[in-house]
């Protein structure tokens, strides 16, 4: 299944990125920040990608634990890797943007803290898969399950924690001239997410098939 979707997804990604990049280049620069503001067009969609990946990994992990499904396991691994990838992108672009916009590299704001913690959970997922030996697929699935279940609580608790302090606005309402490039950027990133997911799942499928061939050969 992943195979047949791969080509159209990849094509869509390339097209959408091309459109998005043109639009971003043409978008009016923000008055105080200049060119650096345009990092935001890559920053927000990165988080979108991370949360989509986390959702994928979370649902797949439930299936791994409930049914022992090998297919679900492939999606879980792919989702976790993409969560770490897109999250890393967000964590790098964020401070680069914030330094210019707010004057600080980091702030203990609810969205940032929640995102960072979730990212750490999925880094932990990958560490477990790599180092825990046999049975690590189920262990990692438990980590993903707990991580996803806890994320609303992280958001709530950090939100309450910070409401006692002055808030900085993260998402100002965007004028249309910036809204359209943002939309295309988001679509492009989602298409990229889909493409990478398909590639990774297909890679996992091939690995399982290879293992099966080894086993069959020995028989």
């Amino acid at each position: 299944m992943a195979k047949s979707l791969l080509a159209p997804l990849a094509a869509a990604t390339v097209v959408l990125f091309a459109i998005a990049l043109v639009l971003i280049a043409q978008a009016p620069p923000e008055s105080t920040m200049g060119l650096v503001q345009k990092i935001f067009y890559f920053h927000l969609p990165s988080w979108l990608g991370m949360y989509s990946a986390i959702f994928t990994c979370g649902v797949a992990s439930i299936l791994v634990l409930a049914k022992g499904s090998a297919v679900a396991d492939r999606f879980a691994v792919a989702g976790a890797e993409l969560a770490v990838l897109f999250g890393a992108n967000g964590l790098v672009t964020g401070p680069l943007w914030a330094r210019k916009a707010w004057g600080v590299w980091w702030t203990w704001e609810v969205r940032l803290v929640s995102a960072l913690l979730l990212w750490l959970v999925f880094v932990a997922y990958l560490i477990v898969r790599r180092y825990a030996g046999p049975g690590s697929d189920k262990l990692a699935a438990a980590v993903a399950l707990f991580g996803t279940a806890v994320s609303p609580f992280v958001y709530i608790s950090v939100n309450f924690w910070r409401t006692m302090h002055p808030k900085t606005t993260v998402l100002p309402t965007l004028p249309t001239s910036m809204g359209v490039p943002m939309l295309f950027s988001c679509l492009a990133f989602m298409a990229l997410f889909g493409t990478l997911l398909a590639i990774r799942v297909r890679l996992a499928e091939r690995e399982t098939a290879l293992d099966a061939l080894y086993l069959a050969y020995e028989d």
């Binding site: 634990l65 477990v128 180092y131 262990l139 438990a142 980590v143 707990f146 992280v154």
Partner: protein
């Protein structure tokens, strides 16, 4: 049968611990050392910051708890007795509950020492609102122990289990720590912010329910190949 099995496991762990008190004594000592290290690090001009007390309490509990978890399950690994437990005709989640109760009681014993110690060292009014504080302490400890017991159990047959436990445990229990610290700090403020503490307490209780539910559901799958 479920509760009975859990209590049998707890009683057995008590019997073992009673012989040497090894885990209890070393956990207490470690927790106290933690607090002292933090104190030395934070004391400025001969005074310790009062606000730090809440954070230090929960961090010491988390660190000491992680160590205690590892060693509690090391006991089941030594003679591979965990397999004998899994072979018993009792529901597997009962084993989890038995272990959880033991860990929670150990945390309570640790806190019984830490709370007065921190209150004295930091001149912090930890017990200003004793009932609410106790509720926060109990629900936070249960939340931390709930995740910790499951992870420590599932890592028992894994290589690198000692370092993997904190890596897995800390990101997921951070909301527990946040709520515990903020709840404790709210109760220590003057005047004590009971409304806010109640909010933190409710989040903690919700977390406890979520964690224990997921743990009960996944324990068997994770322990059997």
């Amino acid at each position: 049968m479920f509760l009975r099995a859990a209590l049998l496991v707890l009683r057995k762990d008590f019997a073992i611990e009673r012989k040497s008190l090894e885990i209890l004594v070393t956990t207490l000592f470690f927790a106290v050392s933690c607090v002292l290290v933090f104190s030395f690090g934070l004391v400025k001009e001969g005074k310790a910051p009062t606000d730090a007390a809440a954070a230090i309490l929960w961090i010491a509990v988390a660190f000491a708890g992680t160590l205690a978890l590892g060693r509690t399950f090391e006991r089941e690994r030594y003679g591979d007795t965990i397999r004998a437990l899994l072979m018993a005709p009792v529901p597997r989640p009962a084993l989890y509950v038995g272990k959880l109760l033991g860990v929670v009681l150990l945390l309570f014993a640790t806190e019984a020492i830490l709370v007065p110690l921190i209150a004295i060292l930091f001149a912090a009014p930890l017990l200003a609102r004793p009932l609410l504080f106790l509720a926060v302490l109990v629900s936070g400890s249960v939340g931390f122990a709930a995740v910790g017991t499951l992870f420590a159990a599932m890592l028992m047959r894994t290589r690198s289990r000692d370092v993997l436990l904190p890596i897995l445990l800390y990101p997921i229990t951070i909301p527990v720590i946040i709520c515990g610290v903020r709840g404790t700090a709210a109760l220590m403020a003057s005047p004590a912010d009971e409304a806010m503490a109640a909010v933190w307490l409710s989040i903690l209780i919700a977390l406890d329910v979520v964690f224990v539910t997921i743990a009960l559901w996944t324990f068997e799958t994770l322990m059997v190949d």
